[in-house]
Symmetry: C2
Subunit: 251 residues, 2 copies
C-alpha cells in the first residue's frame, strides 16, 4: 500500500485529507498543515514543518504555486514529489527523488462537498517507469485519468480559466444587474443550468443564441444604453463582437 504524506490544508488539501484519511488503497502517514494545532486528526499524524516529514512513497503538495519549488527542496531524498498545479511544469520540482504531477480539474471550495471520482485528473512523470507510483495514487481518487505533458496541462488550465473563472464573472455581472433592479438572482438559475448542460450534448458555437449572434442591433443598442457600469458596458461590447467574430470564422 502506498505510504503518502499530504502537504497543505487549503481547499484542495482539506478535500484530499477527507478522502484519504480512511482510504483502503493508500496509507496517509502524515499531514503537514501550516497552522498545526492537533498532533493527530482522525488517526493521521499532523506536523507543522517540512523538517518533520518522514520518508514516504509520495509527497503530495497541495500548496500555492509559488511555494512548490522551495518546498520540493526540503523533501526526503527518496520517494516521489507530486504537485497538483495546472500551470506549473514538472521540472519545477527540485527534490532528489522522483517527480510527478497530479492535477485535478475542479474548483474546490471549503463549503462544497465533492465526489473525487467525478473529477478528471491529469498526470505526468518524467519516465514511464515512474508512472506506477502516480498511477497507484490516482487510482485511489478517480477513474478519470489522463496523461498530459506540462505544455498541454498549461493549455488545459487556461481553458479552465475561461470555463470557470470567466463564466463566473459573467454570473457576477448578471447578479449585479438583477440586484440593482430588485430581481432575485435565483430566477437566473434554470437558465444558467440549461446553458451549462447544453454544452454536454452540443458544441458551444452551435448552442449560441442571443442578440449578438443574431446581429440584432436594436437589442444590442438597448442593452448598451442601460448599462451604467463602464467596465460591464465595455465587456458587453467586447464579447458581443467576439461572438460575431466566432460566427464569421465558422462560415
Amino acid at each position: 500500500m502506498l505510504k503518502i504524506t499530504l502537504i497543505g490544508s487549503g481547499n484542495l488539501g482539506s478535500h484530499l485529507f477527507q478522502h484519504w484519511k480512511a482510504n483502503s488503497q493508500v496509507k496517509l502517514n502524515q499531514w503537514l498543515r501550516r497552522s498545526r494545532t492537533e498532533r493527530t486528526i482522525d488517526g493521521v499524524s499532523c506536523i507543522g514543518s517540512p523538517s518533520e516529514i518522514e520518508p514516504a512513497d509520495a509527497y503530495v503538495m497541495a500548496v500555492p504555486d509559488r511555494e512548490i519549488e522551495s518546498l520540493s527542496t526540503q523533501l526526503p531524498p527518496t520517494g516521489m514529489a507530486v504537485h497538483c498545479s495546472g500551470s506549473m511544469s514538472l521540472d519545477i520540482l527540485r527534490n532528489k527523488g522522483t517527480k510527478g504531477v497530479l492535477y485535478p480539474l475542479q474548483s474546490f471550495s471549503s463549503e462544497r462537498q465533492l465526489n473525487f471520482n467525478s473529477i478528471p485528473f491529469f498526470l505526468e512523470t518524467l519516465t514511464a517507469r515512474e508512472q506506477t507510483v502516480l498511477q497507484a495514487l490516482v487510482d485511489s481518487l478517480s477513474t478519470h485519468q489522463y496523461w498530459l505533458n506540462s505544455a498541454q496541462r498549461l493549455q488545459l488550465h487556461l481553458a479552465a480559466v475561461f470555463a470557470n473563472n470567466f463564466t463566473n464573472h459573467c454570473y457576477e455581472v448578471a447578479g449585479r444587474i438583477c440586484e440593482a433592479n430588485k430581481i432575485p438572482f435565483d430566477v437566473l438559475l434554470p437558465l444558467i443550468h440549461e446553458t451549462a448542460s447544453k454544452v454536454a450534448v452540443m458544441k458551444p458555437i452551435k448552442a449560441q443564441t442571443g442578440p449578438a449572434i443574431r446581429n440584432d442591433q436594436l437589442v444590442l443598442e438597448k442593452h448598451q444604453s442601460i448599462l451604467k457600469n463602464k467596465t460591464d458596458k465595455q465587456l458587453y461590447q467586447f464579447i458581443s463582437q467576439a461572438i460575431q467574430n466566432s460566427e464569421n470564422e465558422q462560415l
Copy 2:
C-alpha cells in the same frame, strides 16, 4: 377555459405547442405557422396567414422581436395580444384589444426537451383588471410567476445575456483551446457543472477563484503568452482586469 391562438413555430413556438396541444387548462384553437403544410397537427387547426386568425381570448406571439408590432395590428379586435420578448416593451403592441407580456427566461433549442414548470415567467399587463387572462395563461405553464414592468424586463434580459450567451462564449473559447491541444472538451464538463451549481448556494463574487482574483501575475502572464488568437487574448486581459476591479469594489 382560455381559448388561445399560438403564433410562431420557432424554438419557443414549437415548445409551447407541445405543451399546450393536450393541456386541460387551455384550449389551443389555432396555430399560425410560417410554412403551413398540414391543416391540423395533433387536432389543432393550422393556419398560414394572420388573416385566418379567429377571435380568441389570447394570441400568443412567439415570433422575432421585429415582427411583433406589425403582427399585432393584424389581430382580431377582441382578446389579448401577448408577446414573449424580454427586450420589447408592452406598448409595442398595437392591437385593438388588451395587451400582455409573457416572457419565459430560458434558452430554447429544438434539440432539447424542457419542463416548462421549472422555467420562470415574467408577466406584464397595463391594468390590474387585465391580469386575469394572463394569469390563467401562465398558470397552464409554470408556477414560477413574476410581475415585472417593461424597464425591469429589459434589465433582466440583459442579465440573461451575461448569464447565458456570454458564459456560452467562454465555453466556446475553452473548447477551442482544448481542441487545438488534443484534449477532449468533455474533461471540462464537471468543472462547468460545478461552477454553475456553486452560484445557487453562494454569491458569484464569493465563488470566484483563479489567477485573476489571486492577482497571480506569473500565471496571468503565462496564459497570455500561449494565447495565439488575438480576440481571445484581449478577452483574457479584459475579464481578468474586470475580475480584479470587482474584487477591489467589494473591499
